[in-house]
Symmetry: C2
């Protein structure tokens, strides 16, 4: 496809500076449906290893369900007050069926015979299903989900939507409440999205970052 007009560096960095982990959301402000649809598409377009997409995204809108999750989330107000709450799930295992699902989708999208993807299929199988990485597949899948989290927070900032990434929750309780026990997916991380309240004093605090000279080393 033709390359879209790049953003200016200044504009991109301005958006990243504007972003912060929102502590207090304005509970009266909802993300408009068109913007939310775009954010769902951004999530789906997240890159993943082999393109395997070992994830699912639960969007929790129901206030009663939100209220039930909040005590298992260090009682953080973002859980109930943000416009949208996304629970990012990762796959517990990667099986041959998962690989075949990808091969089928790839063959279909690219108008190929699945047999033409046999080498690719074998490569994934030997790496993730049978290889050393299969021993730590939970971590591998969780890593992929965090790519989605990073992409989501940046995309939201670009669209003027506030976010708060949340690790302070109890995955076992979430899995129970969301009926994920016995399914191929479990809760990995949470992200609240919406609009900052004018009362959130954190929005005006200076961002804390170590100096580039400590973070980046060129060799």
């Amino acid at each position: 496809m033709a390359q879209p007009q790049p953003l200016s560096s200044e504009s991109l960095i301005e958006h990243l500076h504007w972003r912060y982990a929102t502590k207090v959301f304005d509970a009266t402000q909802a993300i408009p449906p068109a913007t939310w649809d775009a954010l769902e598409e951004c999530l789906a377009l997240t890159p993943s290893s082999y393109g395997l997409q070992p994830w699912k995204f639960l969007v929790i809108r129901d206030p009663a369900l939100r209220a039930e999750l909040r005590p298992h989330s260090w009682n953080q107000s973002q859980i109930t007050d943000a416009s949208h709450l996304v629970v990012l799930l990762s796959r517990r295992q990667i099986t041959l069926e998962d690989v075949d699902r990808l091969i089928t989708a790839t063959a279909s999208a690219r108008e190929l015979d699945p047999a033409q993807l046999e080498v690719y299929r074998g490569m994934i199988q030997r790496d993730l299903v049978e290889g050393p990485r299969s021993q730590a597949i939970g971590q591998w899948a969780s890593n992929q989900v965090y790519i989605a989290l990073g992409n989501l927070m940046t995309c939201a900032a670009l669209l003027g939507v506030d976010t708060c990434p949340i690790e302070g929750f109890s995955p076992p309780d979430y899995d129970r409440i969301l009926n994920l026990e016995g399914t191929p997916y479990h809760s990995s991380v949470v992200c609240a999205l919406g609009y900052r309240s004018p009362e959130d004093k954190y929005s005006s605090l200076a961002k804390v970052r170590y100096p580039l000279s400590e973070l980046i080393e060129t060799r």
Copy 2:
């Protein structure tokens, strides 16, 4: 700070569609220094849990070092041919010193007495240094690094820079070659950045994504 003008959803999604895991880079095209500086700043602005930034980013420019890494990277040409190669490192452990480093930086950036951050300090200590999460701190730190990877790939796409995320490498060999043994950091994931070669047939292939109905569930 004042909110920057949001990007249009269409433009954002166009950039995400343009991005793909670049297999063949144009070895003659270098990322201009101003663009690279912006990408380093984007990396530094990545959000992390508690703002702990449990990472470091090695930018490998030296062709000899790249050549040495390539055989430990499934011999992928991106390692030597991309304009910039970033090895994303994560911390092996989170210690009280790491927490104090953050507290000191926060106090300094926000003109506070570190004593005012004692509750925050204790919270991080009980969670990451002494709590259950400390048992899987390697995974926690790696997860954070993948937020940086997700942010980096999206930011690069917005600036018109191609990327290829690379998990197909040998972390122990990278750690040895990059002299990371015995340091607080180890290799987590790699990202090559530069410009796609016109010969990369992958750039024109249809993107493979499962339908939104399979990826996203609203409750």
